[in-house]
Symmetry: C2
Subunit: 157 residues, 2 copies
Amino acid sequence: MPVPAELPPVGAAFLLTQLGTHAAMKFAERVSALDLTPPQVGVLRMIAGQPGLSQQNLAERLGMLPSKVVAFVDELEGRSLVTRTRSTRDRRVYELTLTEEGTELMAEIRSVAAEHEADFCRALTPDEHAQLRALLTRVAESHDLTPGVHPGYRIIR
Amino acid sequence: MPVPAELPPVGAAFLLTQLGTHAAMKFAERVSALDLTPPQVGVLRMIAGQPGLSQQNLAERLGMLPSKVVAFVDELEGRSLVTRTRSTRDRRVYELTLTEEGTELMAEIRSVAAEHEADFCRALTPDEHAQLRALLTRVAESHDLTPGVHPGYRIIR
DNA sequence: TATTGTTATACTCTATAACTATA
DNA sequence: TATAGTTATAGAGTATAACAATA
């Protein structure tokens, strides 16, 4: 029986890929308790941060296809979390805003995200946690990542 | 026009998700120069580390569906990177090994992975790079992640 | 009867592009 | 003519379960 060869040492980039996927899966589990998926959370967060933006704007900022935005907004509007309001300036565009219910849900999302953060980094001391955040922020900046936007929404060609 | 509300502070867990996806995309770009996808690299790495393992074993270790393994091995065998050998002990199983060509390709993969690692962490000093790796390793261990196995291969139910 | 590898099928997901209404 | 939003469709990808060979 052949002896297993040694696997190459694991680098930071691979650990990031592995942990990032794991973190995304755990976050998906948590927000599923609110009957939401991570992309829906992304949409709600963007509308919360830029109230009144159009579906085109939303698509562009999240790197989503406009046709996909329609489906998301349909769903969220049907659940009374988001409203479409015809713009008075240009009647082709809808201005998106959170309803009161949507705003309340955003508060719950923030609470869930805080729990997720604390649990995910539970192995670290507060100091180490801050160090990690600082190092990751530097790396993210060096790669020009848009703060708060998951690159998975992006259109890959 | 409404003033944009402030976005909540970005935590380490979200940075990990964001950076992890970005790292995976960059790695995919790099290995595409070798005409490989990241899951194919995962399969090759596993066979390199455990020569002679069966397709069932491979599926189990990578968390892949056995029917998917068939397609991967078909492709890699067709490219003369991997060989299927009937086990003499149990003629139902195939023993998977890398060909000489496959072994050479693995060396190139390791070289590409090293470049990827260096480029991805280029914003950090060697000390910081080591710190980051140490912190990520601790977090990964605290979540019982299998070293070297991407959780994206896993079956989600 | 159980297990390995394989194949076929049904299902989901998603990108593309056609369509409407407004400009 | 160009753009915002919508819808329909075709293509890719994938999980499930049926199947053949061997145990």
